[in-house]
């Protein structure tokens, strides 16, 4: 992947998002405090927001160039986006949401994971016939994730896709994301507040603060093991008679 972002400017409520970066890793992490501008950056790359200045190109294809008045519409960018809040289609059931891109796509698809495959990995089997309104928070997140994967994008933008999942499922999905990265060679931009996720998945991480990239480097360099103990659910063996 070669995502070039040059002299980007996007005014936000309290500050201006400014970025100049060439991203070439398979998985790039975006890290930063609440309100740092991570979501806004993803939306600008996806073509959902128009910057006031700057240039964005992906593998040589110009996506946005304010100077030359180029603004490729989102549907022509081939960029999958998993928004923070899911933004599922409430008038369709889970299956309808997942297969949406297959029904509407006009641009040719890349080799993509199959419907069955995505359903299996994301544990969506029992949900395919369910209405969106009756899903739990984590279930919604997984559906939004699967929907974007099935669009066979050239680049995946993931906005905290694992935030409301339990550790087990999260680990499972992380290993799946690694396979997507390696098998399907779909590059990704991943927003997360979880340093462990970053270390497990990202080659490189950008740290944003009030709209600027303040640090950048390989995940292994930016993050260090914490001295604070990290907890997981203990195996219930010691209290065998319970439940």
């Amino acid at each position: 992947m070669n995502l070039e972002i040059a002299r980007l400017r996007l005014p936000l409520a309290a500050f201006v998002l400014e970025l100049d970066a060439v991203l070439q890793s398979r998985v790039t992490g975006l890290f930063g405090a609440s309100g740092a501008g991570k979501t806004s950056l993803l939306e600008t790359i996806a073509g959902l927001r128009r910057p006031t200045a700057g240039h964005i190109s992906l593998d040589g294809m110009v996506l946005t160039d304010v100077g030359e008045g180029i603004f490729l519409p989102p549907e022509a960018r081939g960029i999958g986006f998993v928004p923070q809040d899911g933004a599922l289609f409430t008038h369709l059931d889970v299956r309808g949401n997942l297969s949406f891109s297959q029904r509407v796509r006009t641009h040719p698809a890349r080799t993509a994971p199959t419907f069955e495959h995505v359903v299996e990995v994301l544990n969506l089997g029992p949900l395919v016939a369910r209405r969106i309104g009756s899903l739990s928070g984590g279930e919604k997140q997984r559906v939004a994730f699967g929907r974007a994967l099935l669009a066979a994008p050239q680049l995946l933008l993931l906005d905290e896709p694992l935030a409301s999942l339990e550790v087990e499922l999260r680990d499972q999905i992380i290993s799946y994301l690694r396979r997507i990265r390696d098998e399907f060679k779909i590059p990704m931009l991943l927003v997360s507040h979880n340093a462990d996720e970053m270390v497990a998945l990202c080659d490189e991480v950008l740290v944003l603060e009030t709209g600027r990239c303040i640090r950048r480097g390989p995940a292994a360099e930016l993050f260090r093991p914490s001295p604070r103990p990290h907890h997981v659910l203990a195996k219930p063996v010691e209290r065998a008679p319970f439940a």
Partner: protein
Amino acid sequence: MSPDAWQVTWFTAWVAVTSTLCILPPGLALAWLLARRNWPGKSIVETLVALPLVIPPVATGLILLKLFGRHGFIGRWLEETLGVEVVFTWKAVVLATAVMSFPLLVRTARVAFENVNPRVEHVARTLGAGPWRVFWTITLPLARSGVIAGAVLAFARALGEFGATVMVAGFIPGKTETLSLSIYHLVQLGRDGEALGLLAVSVALAFGAVWFSERMLRKAVA
């Protein structure tokens, strides 16, 4: 019911359905433009759309007569190029009811479109759907309750329209006679009993439309 009354009922239902179907495409397009775009003169267009509601039906009828009449701007053009005569035919009935119910559809559909979350439309575009497909697969289904309500209002108005219709289409038994015209006529003659009978038919048609719309809604949700 007499065969005559049946014929009038069919004609009325047919007119109401046709005029509702005719105004759906332009009505929804305009509603969408009003809901989703900002353009100069928007308030003016909104007022223009509401006009058939604001001015008395006879006046609307008179304006239509002047436009579509043989000497009228549009009427002459239609007659010369297509050989179509509108005034005093069933076409005039459809025209009058369509114009009178247009504002109801547009306003109601507009509210529904405004309530669709643009974020959801945005996400649909990242999934490969162009603006046109997004409208059909996302916006319209999410706005369906309002669109259906608007269509039902338009249909009901079409059933009840009288003033403009009688002006451009006249009251020609067997040709431009709708339930509403018949009822008016019977009321004038003091034959309230018969008028009441036809009223019941009108109401039944309206009830059918409401019932059908509820079913469509429920199906769409399920």
